[in-house]
């Protein structure tokens, strides 16, 4: 269990990092927190010639509120999200989700950019980003571009990132004070990757009808998946318990999970239903709705 030999590069600035990426292309791999990459290197599932350690790149660790979203630097650690008053105030859904990531020792080192780039379909941050219709700022030697989450996540552990690109920032849309939210998941043991997870945001109008709904599931498809048909169904409906059953049913029909050693496809599908109901119920309650 030792990584194969590689050349270690430690850029101090973003420009330097991007230049390495431009020069070395597919021979190079970025390392940030290492919490997903090092196991892969230890097992030699990946044997890059060059390892570019972005851990000391200046100015990539920040949480800022900017026109309607929280802009989070790629090197921001999970633990920093947990402790951030800005996250608690403007995106409590993210705070609720981040506590489910692994264990304290993992959250201490793992980064937001690493989690998004790794694109595990059960990971919490990609699911929240998908639910909120967030964006990813990608940098390369010639400039920058911004991609929507749905354009970024392609399939299981695969994103649209090119070998010469890196994630610079991740943008989570701010949730209004009046909205209710919930993040819920089922894992085999505390800290394990989720079997299934669901993120929900709901806003009600003055008649207690659903005015806005955001819903996504992780662990159910090869990418975090927005439950769009359920969102559409919810809009304009009176927020009561009868709604939950039908929404859960619709959610489970709209996903196509694979089974593995940790849970069969049909078990995951039934979790999508149960967790959708639970997440919606909590979100509606927190939005001031009647459901109990």
């Amino acid at each position: 269990m030792k990584p194969a030999s590689f050349e270690y590069l430690r850029p101090a600035s973003l420009e330097e990092a991007l230049q390495y990426l431009a020069d070395l292309g597919e021979d190079a791999k970025i390392i940030a927190g290492g919490q997903s990459l090092i196991p892969v290197l230890n097992m030699r599932l990946s044997t890059p010639k060059y390892l570019i350690d972005i851990g000391r790149v200046e100015g990539l660790s920040y949480i800022r509120e900017e026109d309607g979203y929280l802009a989070i630097g790629a090197l921001t650690r999970h633990v920093e999200l947990e402790q951030s008053p800005l996250v608690a105030k403007h995106c409590p859904l993210l705070l609720e989700a981040v506590k489910w990531i692994g264990h304290a020792q993992i959250r201490q080192r793992g980064t937001v950019g690493g989690s998004i780039a790794h694109a595990d379909p059960s990971a919490e941050l990609p699911c929240v980003l998908a639910a909120l219709r967030g964006e990813i700022v990608i940098a390369h030697a010639d400039g920058e571009e911004t991609l929507a989450a749905e354009e970024f996540f392609l399939t299981y552990l695969l994103t649209s990132l090119q070998p010469d690109q890196m994630i610079k920032e991740v943008r989570f849309p701010v949730i209004s004070n009046a909205a209710g939210y919930a993040f819920t998941e089922v894992a085999r043991r505390h800290g394990d990757f989720a079997l299934v997870e669901v993120a929900a945001v709901v806003e009600l109008n003055e008649n207690q009808e659903i005015a806005l709904a955001r819903l996504a599931a992780g662990g159910a498809n090869p990418v975090p998946c927005v439950l769009e048909s359920v969102e559409d169904f919810l809009i304009g409906k009176a927020a009561d318990n009868s709604l939950l059953e039908e929404a859960g049913e619709m959610a489970s029909e709209s996903v196509d999970p694979d089974g593995d050693l940790h849970g069969s496809a049909s078990y995951r599908r039934s979790l999508v239903k149960t967790l959708t109901k639970r997440a919606l119920q909590t979100a509606i309650q927190r939005a001031g709705g009647i459901s109990r």
Binding site: F6, I38, Q105, Q108, G191
Partner: protein
Amino acid sequence: MKTMEITVTVNGKKRTETVETRMLLSDFIREQLRLTGTHLGCEHGVCGACTVLVNGKAARSCLMLAVQADGFAIDTVESLAREDGSLHPLQQAFSDNHALQCGFCTPGFMMTLVDFLQENPNPSEGEIREAISGNLCRCTGYANIVKAVEQASQALAKQGG
């Protein structure tokens, strides 16, 4: 062989060493520094046996390269007992409560809990169980570990932190 010179402060002492770039921090600690108190169970982040403090915070040494720790402070289980051999309150509490049997997992629990009790000096049982969720023990069944942490938190409070 690709190598690099690094300087780390290990258990309070500054050390400058040449390491292979691919060397894990855990192997650096055990094989190069001969501090064999840090144990390796899984070497891919799952068991927590290799937990050390990196700049004062618990982290898995099998999920870091030694070169990534360049310039950092590392504390291992060897830093806990005093010079005269008397035990750290956590070690004493583990001993008093039979919170270890084979002892393989114990250094990882210690370093996880040193950090945890600094952050949360008066934890509930639930908080303790969550704090140790990233450390596997195949012997004790955890109940005595939880008891030991409760005793240690009281002992540390008496000591004044």
